[in-house]
């Protein structure tokens, strides 16, 4: 009987059913001021006659180019110029692309993709024409799917990822990977891809050093790691060796985080509206929070909605410039650009206004 229950839990996890990850309101919502912001409509332009799909990953490089990693008929990676115009497709037909989850750009402008279909994290050179490294192992065709929806997760392994979700780096170029849907852990690898540390395991948990779908991660300039522990509604902070430091629990469901560049880094967190939950969920979810790295909320912006500039399940954010946020949305198949009005709203105590809004 017990075994059966475990199996059932695993099934719901693997299917990603919404009941496994009920959406929760952010307790910070009432006390966090609204940031004023502007949407830039139709900033990103697909080539004529072509379409983006579920927008899982967004990123930018140091030259202001943007990258979109999305699930179309094939999983694809597109590059856009600073003006939002389409430049080129990268990795067309690449063996490491099957089911997009994240794209990020490191401090050397190398482009990294995280694919939860192939279980592979790929490092492309800045031009996107050369593969410099692959981490993880695409299951052999002949072996069938690595994770089946029929039992507990397979034991975790140092060099095999299981539906990984995100990648980040510290200032020494060590590689951090959140892994993922069928492991529940954070990995640290050397710049050459050698295993250094692990936090978590294949098992789901809600205590310290445990995760329930680590869905994204970022690393600050000091080397601390911020993990979006989606199923546990918290952002976990680890030190550079993946030792547990603390967790931020007031920002709702931890879909995705982003840490800006520059001398003063900010932490952005998305309490994205859920896939397929019931009536009323949009009223309590959908905002993106801006905070100090220590978790002190500074402001929030955005709302759930089908029509732009609403958010329709924000999956990843780019915040290289903390006043310019790019979001990738699952359900509206789009990537949007937002400009945050600097500091004026953040400086005002807008708690009353926020409270009023929260009752709607």
């Amino acid at each position: 009987m017990k075994h059966y229950l475990t199996a059932a839990a695993a099934v719901s996890l693997l299917l990603g059913t919404t009941s496994a990850y009920p959406q929760s309101a952010a307790t910070a919502a009432l006390t966090t001021p609204d940031l004023s912001y502007e949407a830039v409509p139709n900033f990103f332009q697909a080539p004529p006659g072509d379409y983006m799909g579920e927008l899982q990953g967004v990123a930018s490089n140091s030259k202001g180019h943007y990258f979109a990693y999305f699930r179309g008929p094939q999983t694809r990676l597109w590059e856009f110029g600073p003006d939002g115009k389409f430049i080129k497709e990268i990795g067309k037909g690449f063996y490491g692309f099957q089911f997009a989850h994240s794209v990020r750009v490191d401090r050397h402008d190398n482009i990294w993709t995280v694919d939860e279909g192939t279980n592979v994290v790929t490092k492309f050179d800045p031009t996107g024409t050369k593969v410099l490294m692959v981490i993880g192992h695409r299951p052999n065709l002949a072996d069938g799917p690595y994770a089946t929806p029929h039992g507990p997760n397979p034991p975790d392994e140092k060099y095999t990822l299981c539906r990984p979700t995100d990648v980040a780096w510290d200032q020494n170029d060590n590689i951090f990977i959140s892994d993922g849907y069928c492991n529940n852990r954070v990995m640290k690898y050397s710049p050459e891809g050698k295993f250094l540390a692990e936090n978590g395991s294949e098992k789901v948990g809600k205590g310290e050093n445990e995760y329930n779908l680590p869905h994204g991660l970022q690393v600050d300039h000091q080397g601390n790691v911020y993990v979006a522990d989606r199923g546990n509604n918290r952002y976990v902070v680890l030190d550079n060796n993946l030792k547990w430091k603390t967790a931020y629990t007031s920002f709702g469901t931890a879909w995705s985080d982003c840490i800006s560049e520059g001398p003063h880094q900010y932490l952005f967190m998305s309490n994205s509206n859920p896939n397929g939950n019931g009536p009323g969920t949009w009223a309590r979810t959908g905002q993106i929070y801006k905070a100090e790295l220590d978790g002190t909320p500074l402001g929030k912006f955005g709302h759930a909605g089908k029509l732009a500039p609403g958010f329709q399940v924000v999956h990843m954010m780019d915040c290289r410039n903390p006043n310019q946020i790019i979001v990738g949305e699952i359900e509206s198949w789009r990537m949007q650009k937002f400009v945050l009005k600097e500091s004026d709203a953040a400086a005002k105590p807008a708690a009353k206004k926020a409270a009023k809004k929260g009752r709607k």
Binding site: E89, L141, P155, E157, Y159, F195
Partner: protein, 341 residues
């Protein structure tokens, strides 16, 4: 569970390593350049011809499963490329060929015919130097199971030692001086199959086990100038040597747990053996041994890893020139040229 077993094997392989092998100094490079929008995937086969051209067989595309009325059919997913001696891309061979599914190996015989071994279609395909199909061994299974169970479904249980000209996840092919064909069969079956140069099935030997003339898997095969057959018994940490008729002669245990082997041509032949790391372990093994044909260790080089001088799950060695090798790194999705000093 499967992965756990692999880990144990890896640990066993590490313990079994000969400790005294001398380090051979070496340099590496990646000279092959692909056309725009073409990338290597899981690189399993590399071979050169007499003109120094390089052939690579790689799983770098999406295998397509189409749903028939009552069965599922699989095709595509692997590609064969030819490169000039300087690494420039020349052409693709066998595009849309029925038997290309999960790349396993490519070899070039002394007449520059190109032989392709496909693990999932369980076929050995001979192309002439112009790239035309010249001979086919084995038959692709008509349909696939989803989720797959490719190592079953051909009558007798895999590894039972059945005499048949059908394969079960074959891994490699080699020839003797007379042109007789030896197929390593392989991952599913655990045997060696011998054919005449015209493809007439002569016999096969071996079954799953650990005794002499038994194999865990036959993961590579090579034939020396005298016609002796060397079978890489991956999983049993040995290379078994047979005479040309399949009679057991000896076992070589100084080459680690062999994932790929190669015998160089020329008056003094060498045997190369890769103690390849499994995909889930970059911290042990990965070195390649250079041996005399009797198993005496000349030296070793390399280790598991992702760096420029590391090897990631080497699945093939080309040793036409014993001082300048090509290796197919399945785990690193690349082909590396290794110059030994």
């Amino acid at each position: 569970m499967r992965c756990f077993a692999t880990l144990l094997l890896a640990a066993a392989a590490t313990i079994a390593l000969p400790a005294m092998a001398q380090e051979i100094s070496y340099a590496t490079s990646q000279p092959l350049t692909l056309p725009h929008d073409t990338f290597f995937g899981y690189v399993t086969g590399v071979a050169t011809n007499s003109k120094g051209h390089v052939f690579v067989y790689t799983r770098n595309g999406e295998p397509t499963i189409t749903l028939g009325g009552s069965r599922a059919f699989a095709h595509g997913g692997s590609n064969l490329y030819e490169f000039a001696p300087d690494g420039k891309f020349i052409r693709q061979i066998g595009k849309q060929v029925y038997g290309f599914l999960a790349a396993q190996q490519v070899r070039v015989d002394k007449n520059d015919n190109i032989w392709v071994v496909d693990r999932y279609s369980s076929m050995v395909m001979k192309f002439d130097p112009q790239g035309r199909l010249a001979m086919l061994l084995g038959r692709k299974p008509e349909s696939v199971d989803v989720p797959s169970s490719p190592d079953t479904g051909r009558g007798n249980p895999p590894g039972s030692g059945q005499q048949s000209d059908l394969f079960q996840s074959p891994t490699d092919v080699a020839w003797d001086a007379a042109g007789n064909i030896f197929v390593a069969d392989g991952n599913g079956n655990a045997r060696v199959a011998k054919f005449t140069r015209d493809g007439v099935f002569v016999k096969s030997w071996g079954s799953r086990g650990a005794d002499n003339s038994q194999f865990k898997t036959v993961h590579g095969i090579a034939v020396d100038a005298a016609g002796n057959v060397y079978a890489a018994d991956r999983g049993n940490n040995r290379i078994q040597v047979f005479d040309n008729d399949g009679n057991y002669k000896s076992s070589i245990t100084s080459g680690g747990n062999p994932e790929a082997i190669c015998i160089s041509p020329g008056a003094h032949q060498y045997l190369f053996s890769s103690n390849s790391n499994p995909a889930n372990d970059l911290d042990h093994g990965g070195e390649i041994y250079k041996l005399e044909l009797n198993g005496t260790v000349v030296g070793k080089f390399g280790q598991a890893g992702k760096g420029p001088k590391d090897f990631g799950s080497v699945n093939a060695i080309d040793c036409r020139n014993p001082n300048s090798l090509y290796v197919a790194e399945a785990g690193n999705w690349r082909v590396t040229k290794v110059d030994l000093h």
